[in-house]
Symmetry: C2
Subunit: 480 residues, 2 copies
């Protein structure tokens, strides 16, 4: 078929060239590029927000930031360029001129401006962030729409982005296929009362069942990940998960991000999963320390507790500690005589918060894998040990200051065992598809889920989970 060059159709030159031309014409650069310059650059243009400023008789000094880096570019402009212009912290400007090297302790370059254009004003009386003031995280949380304009939260956003990419690269380099688990799910057995239900907003009563079945927001993509693993061998997903938890803690959100990986296990079982988790954890932290040192170091130097600092150092320098649930219980029961635990530790019960804290003090604030839990306190899909069917091959990773960051297990791959278990739970019909994965070419496999916000909390030493996600959702709050 020939291309009909009709009246209204215009052909433009190859787009990459156009983009390059646009960029060259405007000489537009980011603050990040500007402050990284090592020699004079003529005719550049920088768009950003005023973070600070001071006036001398002849000169005005403006600190400019655009979110591309934590650094500020000092713009030096002759006062007459800004005559009659009311510049305040928060205003947006375009500054044009040349980047010149300077010999100052605080900076290597500055922008000698030949033009400063005010784009957007900012009334200092109404703007919630005040000049020269570092506001607390609680205060910032009141302004989720403006928080990205602050130094501290823009660091969080850059670190989140970098950590997200580090996670993707980690799995891609290891041959894991990324896929998207469904957000709307008809599975409801795992989260019980803590699910969100979905229906069309303006539905008449008889249209409620839009999907011809009850529909919920996913609490985990694991079962779906197992289905994909049954053809693809190694997969991961990185997406939102949900809990309708009616509690306020510094470690829970109604909407949070999980990295979930699932892989066939080729002989080595749970220990292979532990290696994968530990590699992922260390890899991601190392990437942030290498590529975003300035951003992450800010948190370590300002808000990080001593405990968190030790944990971070330990995370990089030492292999994680490992103990079985039974060993953990022995330790807790021994310690119970000296400690006053809120709940008495007892084999068969879940670990409580103060139990976790004690175990982490025992490791010297080193993250610790707890393995081999009682089957009774873990979900139906966990694989029982061949040597003891009361124990399942599962793992929790506890991290100082945050608690459980990862939960995982080898999955029950034997059809008959899984069928018995589903039958006992009355789930056989609903999970026929899950059983099918064991009927048609079953393989030993396992996986884990990692709470992404908790990981960031651990890496940054940020106490409240609402301060590491752009728009936190929790009981009583869904702003914007």
């Amino acid at each position: 078929m020939l291309f009909r060059q009709n009246v209204v159709v215009r052909l433009w030159p190859r787009v990459a060239t156009v983009s390059a031309a646009v960029r060259t014409l405007t000489s537009r650069i980011t603050v990040r590029d500007a402050v990284a310059a090592t020699s004079t650059r003529e005719d550049v243009s920088v768009l950003g927000w005023v973070k600070n400023m001071r006036k001398q008789k002849e000169l005005v000094f403006i600190d400019l930031n655009d979110g591309s880096t934590a650094a500020r570019l000092q713009v030096v402009a002759p006062s007459n360029l800004l005559r009659g212009v009311h510049l305040n912290v928060g205003c947006s400007v375009v500054a044009k001129g040349k980047i010149v090297p300077v010999s100052l302790a605080s900076q290597d370059v500055e922008l000698a401006a030949s033009q400063v254009q005010l784009l957007g004003t900012c009334d200092p009386k109404k703007y919630p962030f005040k000049r020269g003031k570092i506001h607390g995280v609680e205060y910032l949380r009141q302004f989720p729409h403006l928080r990205p304009q602050t130094g501290v939260f823009s660091r969080v956003l850059r670190l989140r982005s970098a950590a997200t990419m580090a996670v993707h690269r980690f799995f891609q380099d290891r041959g894991f296929i990324n896929f998207h688990t469904p957000i709307i799910s008809s599975s409801d057995c795992e989260g019980a009362g803590e699910l969100f239900e979905i229906r069309p907003s303006q539905a008449a009563e008889d249209e409620k069942r839009f999907f011809s079945t009850d529909a919920f927001l996913t609490v985990s993509g694991q079962l779906h990940a197992e289905a994909v693993t049954s053809g693809m061998s190694a997969v991961y997903t990185f997406g939102p998960t949900f809990r309708a938890e009616k509690s306020h803690t510094k470690r829970h959100l109604s909407e949070f991000y999980m990295v979930e990986a699932e892989t066939v296990l080729h002989g080595s079982g749970l220990s292979e999963l532990l290696c994968l988790v530990e590699d992922l954890y260390k890899h991601t932290l190392e990437v942030l320390l290498k590529d975003n040192y300035d951003d992450i170091n800010y948190f370590h130097e300002t808000i990080c507790s001593d405990e968190a600092k030790i944990s971070i150092l330990n995370s990089i320098e030492r292999p994680f500690a490992r103990m079985t649930y039974s060993e953990a219980m022995d330790e807790l029961e021994n310690a119970a005589s000296k400690n006053s635990f809120h709940t008495q530790p007892q084999w068969g019960d879940d670990l409580q918060r103060d139990h976790e804290l004690h175990l982490l003090s025992v490791t010297g604030q080193l993250p610790v894998f707890i393995t081999d839990f009682p089957a009774a306190i873990k979900p139906f899909y966990a694989r029982t040990l061949d040597s003891d069917t009361n124990i399942v091959s599962s793992v929790d990773l506890l991290v100082p200051g945050v608690g459980e960051v990862v939960g995982g297990s080898v999955r029950e791959e034997r059809e008959t065992v899984l069928r018995d278990r589903l039958t006992r739970l009355g789930l056989l019909e609903k999970y026929q598809w899950y059983l099918d994965l064991r009927r048609f070419g079953t393989v030993p496999h396992g996986g884990f889920g990692l709470g992404f916000e908790r990981l960031l909390q651990a890496f940054l030493g940020v106490a409240d989970i609402r301060d590491v996600i752009p728009f936190p959702r929790y009981l009583g709050s869904c702003q914007m």
Copy 2:
């Protein structure tokens, strides 16, 4: 603080070393690595599923795949290794032996097996996928949990994963920050009747308002992206969005993925966005053709229509066509005398499906940007032209076979104009936060949303959107 080397804490050697050791001991490799071998490799072990097999008197030939590649590894085993073992298509096995080069048209290497272990059986009478048969996509859709085990769907999954990474790399290389828009949102004005509503599943009547406000599944992260852009300059998000559309088409899902980008615009306005979209589109397609040629070529050679093929070729080789809405309407009105459009084209109305098809035939199946729409048919946030306030600076990208793949606009950055518009719409109170972005350091900015599944449809020539997403959700269906 010293590390207390307490009773129950074991220190393990540095984990990377352990992983490496595990891998070396088992010599476990993927089918992808196996078929890429260029010389003999001793003592390897491959886990996979039987895709085909044939028996000779002395030898058994098994085609093995593990999802890491579309290729199959031929395993050659002496018959006595498999005596008494019932191998069928769909069974999972571990084959051990050595990879040896062979001179065959169909393959470069094979696995000379010294051991074949059956892991999971597969009853050929019950397994829905039959030996040697290529099932149609409609048939496969009945088995979302088993679909990843088929050749065609595993190609889709690999391409989806590769395209996801290509999108991330595209933006990261250009300094865009990745962030997560909220899935649960209190905004409800954009999608009107097509929203999903959320509430806790087992809530009593008085607990319905979990978030102290009505809560919905997001239809777009754009407004949130604008907030983040107001501090970070250039951001993107890649996540699920939702529509409670009560219709069945081959281009709509209730849950689908959107790539949304938002950036400050530094002079060049809408044309900068068009360049960004076209670069992204071409970059992603080029990555798939370069890195996943075998997978994508399969679709081009089997199911792709001639029209889709031309579109794909055009997409790579030519700059996209561009026309304004008014130019498009002129063309349509001229053509209306010769064509019988379902709806008569008229300036001020939305483009209908057959209008889009006509415009794409005019471009010779080249993707086309339609720009500068009437303000009345675009949302409140679109920027009006300085030269004509009835026109907004917005764009749709139409692609052959799929229709609208991208929608975007420059955003109204002027406080007074936006305030008037919100007031007229009765949205001022609800969108006070959105107006704040214009009160405090507003900047010219714009962005777009790209439908990820439609992009894949366009690249692969897949007619039905349900065949390019792992677990499709649509009216009447929410399997698993």
